[in-house]
């Protein structure tokens, strides 16, 4: 079969190389009206929605801590079964430790509207199913209350906790743990011996692509992670947001499950090569980043000589070393930046100068 370009094809190709007919004005007129040409908002994970989620996280954690403080006189744990305590939290600061309550609380919930947490709502503390509704309702309230423009203001969180927690305390009908709760919609629940003090800690649940984070669990005798690892501490380097689950077993054989979601965001993009040959294509080594608050980059030659330094993400390296074109080959960069959440990152790597 003829695979060559024919004379005819060649002629066509040459004839149409510079074929640039002017489109009628109507094309642009219609195009200009299209939504695709309206301003594209930069993708950001610092949106009001997310702020709401963060606020929810604070509320949820506060409730959990609050419940664990006041749970001792309420619950008697004696029924068989299995307690499942899910911790699914989006940590705001490093080293945030979440301690699930040692025993479940069988409070009667007075929240009638059931707001299922959305899948994007990562800051979910799923207590026993009975409490789930209360928490969900609470979250709904706190989201409504919190001003979307205010980030991390603890006030609405505190207010939300007290306003809902109070009926929990004063609620006259506190069913015993093995009793079926009075609310009919609430599924029956039997408490189980749980690991007395399971704690799951994540160094950072929000990382940039390429970084790693450490999750560790304690309070039990043995641990089984969803990754298959069995050590108390795992280091993970997910390429996309991932939920890690751990089953903690204590000396008595009782188990708790916990999950931690690690969110991965693409924070900056660093190319790995550039060609400073003046053809306007990839002539500069320039880092692309979104919502970067502070940025610094240094580039070293292989002999350790500092060849470029910049504190401006918009400013790239043109490949010149002291006014002369740098040698082709590999260079090392180190970038420090602070992301939109105020978290600092360091990224090191190699880049190739090609000619």
């Amino acid at each position: 079969m003829d695979n060559e370009h024919s004379k005819l094809g060649q002629h066509y190709k040459e004839s149409f190389q510079d074929f640039r007919p002017e489109p009628s004005p109507a094309v642009w007129e219609k195009l200009a009206q299209h939504p695709a040409l309206q301003a594209t908002p930069k993708p950001s994970w610092f949106s009001p929605v997310k702020i709401g989620i963060f606020t929810t996280a604070i509320v949820a954690v506060s409730i959990l801590v609050y419940l664990s403080i006041r749970n001792t006189p309420v619950a008697v744990v004696n029924a068989p079964g299995q307690v499942e305590t899910l911790i699914n939290t989006e940590a705001i600061s490093d080293n945030q430790t979440v301690t699930p309550p040692t025993t479940p609380i069988q409070g009667k919930t007075e929240v009638t509207t059931v707001a299922k947490p959305t899948t994007s709502s990562r800051a979910v503390i799923e207590q026993e199913k009975i409490n789930e509704k209360a928490v969900a309702g609470l979250k709904e309230k706190s989201i409504e209350k919190s001003e979307p423009t205010l980030a991390f203001v603890p006030k609405p969180a505190v207010a939300a906790v007290t306003s809902v927690a109070t009926p929990l305390i004063t609620s006259p009908a506190k069913p015993l743990p093995h009793q079926t709760p009075e609310t009919t919609e609430t599924p029956a629940y039997t408490a189980a011996p749980a690991v007395s003090n399971p704690v799951v800690t994540c160094r950072d649940t929000m990382i940039c692509l390429g970084e790693n984070t450490t999750i560790w669990a304690s309070g039990g005798e043995s641990y089984v992670w969803s990754t298959g690892e069995t050590l108390p501490m795992i280091t993970v380097n997910p390429s996309a947001s991932t939920t890690y689950r751990v089953t903690i077993t204590d000396a008595l054989g009782s188990q708790s499950n916990a999950t931690v979601e690690v969110q991965v965001a693409i924070c900056i993009y660093v190319p790995n090569a550039f060609t400073p040959d003046g053809d306007n294509l990839n002539d500069e080594f320039i880092v692309k980043g979104e919502n970067i608050q502070r940025f610094s980059m240094v580039i070293f030659a292989r002999n350790g000589q500092l060849v470029f330094e910049s504190n401006d993400i918009q400013k790239g390296w043109d490949g010149k070393v002291k006014g002369n074109m740098g040698e082709p080959g590999s260079y090392t960069y180190k970038i420090n930046y602070i992301d939109s959440l105020g978290k600092s990152h360091e990224k090191k790597g190699q880049l190739l100068l090609l000619r």
């Binding site: 003829d2 094809g9 190709k13 642009w28 219609k30 195009l31 200009a32 040409l37 930069k42």
Partner: protein, 187 residues
């Protein structure tokens, strides 16, 4: 001329005047591509518009790794292919007999035919022939790439190309004969 990076930035910020500059910079080249895929200018302009919508929608994903023009061209070709394929009821089964006729392929008959005539003849080709001919001969795709783009086999792409060439050559020959004989008749 404003560099592409500035154009992209302005477009993403939704600046109408920059978007217009962007459009003006590439529209005519891209119409030149679209016209080769459609039988009428109206269809080609529709494809152009559709293609630019895709370009603007996806501009945020464009990384400065290759040439912007090449990227836009690919979008235009793909948009055109999609639209042509949507029009086609039966892919690649048209006018086979017409192409089977024996022709002398080597006649140098293209030199004195204008580009507008060449375009018209190309546009007269059945859709399948036209797409493969354009992709292979003008765009420089390989048969493998064509097969993937059109969801056909490599051998279909090859036979379609051969038939397209033959038919086009025949049309050119006819046109040439007319062109030669017409002035003669006038005298």
């Amino acid at each position: 001329m404003i560099p592409d990076s500035e154009l992209i930035k302005g477009c993403l910020e939704g600046k109408k005047e920059v978007q217009k500059l962007f459009y003006q910079k590439y529209a005519s080249t891209m119409l030149g591509i679209c016209l080769r895929y459609f039988q009428t200018r109206e269809e080609a302009e529709d494809a152009l518009q559709e293609g630019f919508i895709r370009v603007f929608t996806n501009l945020v994903n464009f990384r400065n790794e290759g040439s912007l023009e090449g990227w836009i061209k690919r979008i235009m070709v793909n948009t055109s292919l999609n639209l042509v394929r949507n029009q086609m009821k039966h892919q690649f089964h048209m006018d086979l007999e017409e192409a089977e006729n024996d022709l002398s392929e080597d006649e140098d008959i293209t030199s004195n035919i204008s580009r507008d005539e060449m375009l018209r003849l190309l546009q007269e080709l059945p859709n399948g022939y036209r797409m493969v001919f354009n992709l292979y001969e003008v765009e420089g795709y390989s048969h493998k790439e064509i097969a993937e783009a059109l969801a056909v086999t490599v051998s279909t792409s090859k036979t379609q190309l051969l038939k397209a060439r033959k038919l086009l050559q025949k049309k050119l020959n006819n046109l040439n004969r007319e062109a030669v004989s017409a002035p003669a008749q006038k005298k």
